[in-house]
């Protein structure tokens, strides 16, 4: 891709992340994962697809069906055993390049 896409690529790599959701030992419930966006690193805010937590809703995924329900649900709507993990890359810049030098010495996937 040409220079035209440079700012978009940099923003994407800076903000792109993967979100995983797990329950307490219920194999049938996952693992669930999707992509996400790091909205604000300082505040640590991440936005991702809502389906990632749908299996953990106390009222079941039906709570998200269109209808007369609310347009938002608070954290209490999910079970206590829900564990969420976010993984992201180092992005670009001098620090990332330094990490790239380190990464070259290790197998990329174990």
């Amino acid at each position: 891709m040409g220079r035209r896409w440079g700012p978009a690529m940099a923003a994407g790599e800076r903000a792109g992340c993967v979100v995983s959701a797990r329950g307490a030992g219920a194999e049938a419930e996952g693992p669930w994962s999707c992509s996400g966006v790091l909205l604000n690193r300082r505040a640590g805010l991440v936005l991702c697809h809502g389906g990632i937590v749908a299996p953990f809703l106390r009222a079941g995924p039906g709570a998200l069906q269109p209808g007369t329900g609310p347009s938002f649900l608070g954290p209490d709507s999910c079970r206590d055993d829900l564990r969420l993990y976010v993984q992201w890359g180092p992005g670009r810049g001098p620090r990332a390049r330094a990490e790239l030098r380190g990464a070259l010495c290790t197998p990329p996937c174990s």
Binding site: W5, A15, C34, R42, G44, G50, A54
Partner: protein
Amino acid sequence: AQPAPRSPACARLLLLACCPAFRASFARLFGGDVPEQWRFAGGGPEPPEDEASTSGADEGPLLAALGWFALLRLEDCTVKEVMGSPRLSVVPAASLPKGAPLLTCGSPFGAFCPDIFLNSLSRGVLSNAAGPLLLTDARCLPGTEGAGVFSTHGALVALVAAPLCWRAREWVGLSLLCAADALLRSAALALRRLGLQAEAKELAALLPRQARDTSAGPQRAQVLQEHGAAWLAAVLVECGSVWGSGVALAPRLVLTCRHVAPRENKRVLVRPATKSPPVWGEVVFATQDTSPYDVAVVKLEESLKGIPFPVLASYFHEGEDVCVVGFGAFGQACGPSVTSGILSAVVEVNEAPVMLQTTCAVHGGSSGGPLFTSSGELLGIITSNTRDNSTGATYPHLNFSIPMAVLQPALSQYRCTGELLPLRELDRPSEQVRVVWRLQRVPAQPHQSKL
């Protein structure tokens, strides 16, 4: 080699937010369309097996939650992480015209092997928009639900809502997006109601000024989208119960396909892509069924207004960027869709182009729609995509167009004199042209024995 991803960090759920305007647009475009059997999935390239259900809960939690997004907060965000991190900017989706280039950055297959798949890039254009529901032809894969979609300037435009969709078991080749500005507004509002004022402030700060003012946005966007773009020459052609696309070449002249407007003297209704009222017209010429050129010419009873009539292309360069405009997939529900690609082949007979192929996604209903160069010159009209009759599979990214070079001389004469005779020549192409359109090899020299 890529820089290794960081170890996963723990996060907690702040809220689940739904964008009501997205859900409303979704219901309008897909919800009442049961016979069309729209399907959405994050699964493999084949449509989900169960034909009884349309979209929704039967297709897994990611699909049941279409239009819902989760806002999380990292629990171990360190100060080091903050250093030198530029702020993410958000652009109002309504400010982007159809055809605007987009870049998606997601992780195919989600958390499967992020060392390899994290932040995979895909390029496309804004194909269509209905409020905050956007469509892109950028190729997205399962696991990219929630991925960011960026403008060329690096501003966040949208998040992927569903990477794959089918209509009547035909892969449409478009991904569903939810506009980021609408989503952030919904999330900020929900945070305030939950008493999380600080987080609400953080989200609101990401929005540009014009996106915060929801009252002025859509009208301004309409002006932007309808100002001088080549795709505005695309029209919807209705002929009885049949409909398809077409292109306006002059105020009273529309070109479409024979299989959209098959009978001469038949009245058709032409709906412009602009907000102008529809205009009646008459099919003055349609090629015979035996002609490989699937063309019809419509003369309108009134002039079309506010349409930038296209300049015809005189050169056909394989590999050049092109786009297709057609009402396929959605009809008049949300205007024509723009899909991008390249001119993948120019088939010539006697050094004259007789068939064009592109990598743009083309769907049923796009027949007759224009094929443009990136500078807006009209290359040809779409006649079909590809279907494997043995498997029934449709390939939207391989499609066929009639070059304007074939049609231009006869059309020019018709426009000058009203004479139809030159158009009748399209019923009598050479055998070599017929062979090409039958997808047979152009006969050249006899095969030589290898013995």
